[in-house]
Symmetry: D2
Subunit: 451 residues, 4 copies
């Protein structure tokens, strides 16, 4: 779970990258970094924390030049330290190079082992470092050729930005797991994980980068090529369901509209007798509105999300325990009291949060709670960049829907079907999406069997 | 704009105060402080910043004892410095005393002048310090008597908490401008600005403190008295409209429900031909849902609020200006495109934010924007604790509704009537509320004519 | 233990105050603060820490105006918190007032009790706050008259700076316990604890402020008066022996020269058979050089002081304990090996440090260690501003010199006599100095008998 | 200019490393870092700043295990950023490896170019990273063999510590430019740049590591080998003259004693008619005492060094300029007034500091200032790890002694001869030292001609 942003040919490159990263902050809150190029040399700053905390005006002013790339990160590997913060910046035979990566490789252990055998050293735990080694070891003469040669040895999910002294390069893997769009901001070209970053800097969307496509942006403009034949589109369905910001257009679809359609479809498949429909904010709101519209049951606000949730809270030792959800969400008694409630959420992972939410709703007076999930049960871990736990921890891997309903103390529980999901994204068989987390049908070979 | 929280007789007094302040964070984001009592002596910690940033586990552990009071502050006086952060803590003839104040006095300048003439020194710009002087100068023997004598010389808005080595005292001014509730958390009694703080710490609401009431909590329990005869209730209507958190119960009314009724009433009074109703999040959501329900026009999400809005952002120098609203709100194109939109907000102050919102909606494709405000035009400044600007800056003080509509570039603009407002709060003539910001009818004499 | 610095009529008032405080940093390392006046209003900044850490260029730039006072503090009261950091700044009937205090009052408890009885509140633990109350309560019309009236009720040690919008005032108590000098820096007048602060800012010494004298500096220049008749001079002998910086001229005496004379006198009184003389750096260096010159025994460096001693060190848990002195001082084996050493220090307080030093010297190879102290035994606590412990902790209060020698494991131990001390400061009977710490003859009544 | 410390087999490895680095703080103040091993895995923490500021008790507690290495750094390359802070820590085919380096390679550019040609990436500007690449690329099976193979390709100055999961390795280059000693602390073995680090942790010196020697410390004890034949000893003379701490024993010589001998020799070669001898503290003190003893002119303190010099000071804009030296040193008027003064310093680099010191002494009343330097003129830059500027900036490269005397405004100026220097270190022809900075006779080939 990461976000990337790059810009080429704009007087305020690092400042716009900073704003672009802020717009992508939902994709990663653990570290943030920017590398800029002044045409001669690269400069890097990165640190743990939110974009607004990591960068000061003084730091931004030192990230000089007309091109830049940036990264926000939420560790996919569980280890989260400064050494893993991106962008990475190195020197190699071709000069300086910075890289920002969204996604996750599936053959990184093998790559790493092989690179180490031939003398490579690794300073991070990140699979991205293997890509840099492959580029540096390529015997090709141009950066573009080196990138292509390197990525041809790599399997898995990647939307990658590279910055050299003179060029900005964007590449998307042949399956197109992670999003990447091309935009324009005045004289400059932009590459970003989501369109919301373009909106914030008042840029315009040009188009989505295709799966398997590489774009090279330099003084002469944008050059495109398709070095990696796309076997089949494998766009991450979970970006639509939960991860992307709902004002983005992703894979050509409005995320908000998609989520609303998920709710409409869910209402068709899994109706409920109830007095009102509420959402688990914020990602469940669109689906809840769709559910309400389709079902005719009024939509209302039953849960409020705090704007001030810090990441470290000092918990009481004795009187109150397991505070997490309460700090983030609170129930609206006036809405809930004496009501039969449909509550719409996007997914259930371990079930613990859903359990707390249902209990909170009942404590606030709801007499029935019908939990509706706007996607199928998550039964398989993601190896392509979404931070899901192992099967053992995924409640739906080992429990029936009835068992889950009992655990979360809901009066009823129902999920959207896989067909319903496909219908909502205009691809009934979901042939252009990766749905491995629901189906277990991974699009690439995996290094080890999923656990 | 401040929030107060106090607790007496609980093993984890300072920790619960910390959590209570977090729940009241929307009432003030500039500074936070806690004073605890271990029965012998008081301990204070306060600093600039959010509750979660000001307090560490180490600091909380040093705030020992079974009683505590806390405060979050947004400067009502424009000057915002550490010296004005509350609680204040002093020693005086009666021992140690801490105070936390929500509200604003209208005779503080006169009091201050008079106190200074008789030799008092002031270390802050806050009107609260005058109250402490009056208490210290009282010849009465008990703290309760001193507090009553002091407050009898004071005019204006106050919900006050006092903490001594042995007692927690809460007082609300005779008009009851600012809220204050009594709750219970296990063995301990709680006083808080809003019920949402009770919910977070899993306490229960006992009742609202009455206008003019004083409660004294000590080892023997809760003692109540009504030393200040309430002339007339003057509960701040703006707490209901905008300021309080919507999951709170305030003045006996569910804030969420009130806001929804405001929307319903607004739809009755000010209908619009449109395809959908959207809210300016978060305070406009309840009213927008009410408007949608009453009008039959579908409710949808047209604006999304960022979770990561820091207070200081590094703005681009050349390419983009006037960024503020865009960092906080973004428009959902899929919802808005080609649509006639009713957008519901709670109020218009200067008009600049509304103008940016309307422009943002049109840039995202809305073909008509009908702005509906769920309260009457704000034409007078508040002297009772809400931070509104002078009449010169209040756009409705000097412009007609048509002129405002033109300025904000809305296709139509309409406000809720004062009668409609009264109806929504079950008090058609608003005889138990202060509506001075709408009507100019101030409930107390003012030191100077409103400007 | 504190230092004060003030300047009036200089374009860079706050910057020079910052530098002056840096020069006085040895007088207090716990907190630092500056108040400046732009002629209309005062501005304050203070925080815990060293001068160089507390102030940034941005903070200094906000402390605008042509006059300023500053303060460095080492708590005399044992409690050390931000609320006690000086300068204090208040508003009162006469306008704004800031105060910086070096010294300690002996009737502060009584003053405080009396002020509290008449309604005063205290926000700090500092005795300085009582002085401000007395000024504010004075019925006199000018600040000068108020200050005189206030200080006439006060007993003890004070070198005080007051800053109002238009004036800088300096006052020294009738005994002249603590130093205070008047200087000039270009167009501006300076008041400072020591001449070293003048040297750093390239100012010149005008003269010492007399005991009992008040100087008022305003647009018309320097006005002097002597409102407090000096009964008898009581200049702190310990400033000369240990506390002041050795490059300062204090009470008309070069501190360095005085300390050297102490060493000369000590050699006369307490010779030793030895191979070399070393100092406990830095305060013992001048006396050691004097001792060496007089005795003819070569001076050498046997102990080195670290430049990087932070105040909080993480000590090993098991293998090494009682680290303090080793982090600050290290022994030079080459100098010490096989030698009989005279080690000169300025004083012994508890004896624990001396014991560690002697052991360190012997571990480094010294075969005999003769400890010579360049002042008489400290047997009484100071109530005038030096932070000495109670009699119980002062080793010389309850132990003979032989017992102390045994405790510190020295082969011999000898102190300078009181007569020798007087001789070194050109006042054989020490009639113009306070020597209470050596003699127990306090110059003022004390609130309680010394313990 | 760097310091290294390592320990193997001690329960408090990271805590003792922290203390050891504190003792070596004079060797580098810009960054500090520690890597520990718990036998299974390495842990790293490093940051910009002083040892006491970089490490907290929490950080130390996370650096678990019985072995550790640490590093303090002052950039030799001019670029100083976190990425260059050491130790470096990597994974490679052999597992995990950390390295800490004191010294400077002379063929690092060529090595880097060659490594980059074969595909290596560099994440720092440090020459140390090249060594790690060479180790990782070695086909040898053990770490020891890899280290030897790697270092056989390297030219220049290095005292290196390596830490793997199971071993601590120390190596010194064949010339022995930089110091490295072996010590013992209870059950553990220690490697450190200087003996002062051993003294602080109450360890004992075992012996100096020989030029060209490698020691490997593991569970079985200390294993030594001499893989690199020492052509000729080239111990850095400047460590003795200036860089090392004077309480250390370095290259078998007491640094303090050496410096004193330099002063004695200087007095023989370059007498002066004067009333007293003073030092530029702290590094000039030993030589000044030697000069005084030899010449019979009394030693005294004429300059005092501040304990509170921070690295960033806010300078006045108008009234005072060129502040640097004044913040660090102040003159003692009482000592200097009317005196003819010999002032002893260890070296002159650019001449600007000496000029300020001479002016300061005269401003304090000295009537003659005779500057004596306890080493020959520095005329060539160091490529072996001391941060000297280019020839253009070295005043003695382009000016005669008379010209320098005129520039620094001294009444006379004289340097120690090269022969005198050799005599003081018991090696009259300096055949076992590197004196390139004085002679231009570099012991290794250089990549480019010295400039």
């Amino acid at each position: 779970m990461c976000g990337v942003f790059g810009i080429f040919g704009h007087e305020e490159a690092s400042n716009l990258t900073y704003l672009g990263l802020h717009a992508l902050q939902h994709r990663g809150q653990e570290s943030a970094g920017i590398v800029s190029s002044n045409g001669q040399a690269l400069n890097l700053f990165r640190d743990m924390g939110l974009v607004a905390d990591v960068f000061t005006a003084e730091v931004i002013s030192k990230l000089e030049g007309k091109s830049a790339i940036g990264h926000v990160r939420y560790s996919t590997a569980g280890v989260s330290k400064l050494k893993n913060a991106q962008p990475f910046m190195v020197t190699y035979a071709g000069g300086q190079l910075a890289v920002a990566h969204n996604g996750n490789l599936v053959n990184s252990d093998a790559l790493r082992r092989s690179l180490e055998q031939s003398g490579a050293i690794f300073q991070s735990d990140s699979d991205t470092e293997a890509i840099i080694h492959l580029i540096a070891r390529s015997k090709r003469s141009t950066l573009e050729e080196r990138v292509v040669e390197a990525l041809s040895q790599v399997q898995g999910a990647y939307s990658l930005l590279f910055l050299s002294e003179k060029k900005l390069i964007g590449v998307r893997d042949p399956f197109g797991f992670r999003p990447l769009v091309l935009g324009k901001a005045k004289s400059g070209y932009v590459l970003a994980s989501e369109t919301t970053a373009l909106d914030l800097i008042e840029g315009e969307l040009v188009r989505e980068i295709d799966p398997g496509e590489m774009v090279v942006i330099d003084e002469d403009g944008v050059h495109t090529s398709r070095p990696f034949a796309a076997v089949r589109k494998g766009r991450c369905i979970f970006e639509q369901v939960y991860f992307a910001r709902s004002d983005s257009t992703l894979f050509g679809l409005s995320v908000y509209e998609t989520r609303k359609k998920l709710g409409i479809q869910l209402a068709k498949e899994q109706p409920a007798e109830a007095d009102l429909v509420i959402a688990v904010p914020d990602s469940g709101v669109a689906a809840a509105i769709g559910y309400a519209q389709q079902s005719g049951i009024p939509y209302d606000v039953g849960l409020i999300r705090s704007h001030y949730v810090g990441r470290t809270f000092i918990e009481p030792q004795q009187s109150i325990r397991h505070f997490g959800v309460k700090l983030k969400l609170s129930a609206v008694r006036a809405t809930l009291k004496g009501k039969r409630v449909v509550v719409v959420d996007d997914s259930i992972v371990r079930g613990t949060t859903s359990r707390k939410i249902v209990k909170m709703l009942k404590a606030a007076g709801a007499i029935e709670v019908h939990l509706r999930i706007s996607s199928p049960p998550i039964t398989w871990p993601c190896y392509y960049g979404i931070d899901t736990p192992s099967r053992k921890e995924l409640i739906a891997s080992s429990h029936s829907i009835e068992e889950i309903a009992t655990y979360v103390t809901a009066d009823s529980l129902a999920y959207l079907s896989q067909e319903g999901l496909g219908t909502a994204v205009n691809d009934p068989s979901a042939a252009t999406f990766c749905t491995a987390c629901f189906s277990g049908q991974y699009l690439t070979p995996l290094a080890v069997a999923p656990q």
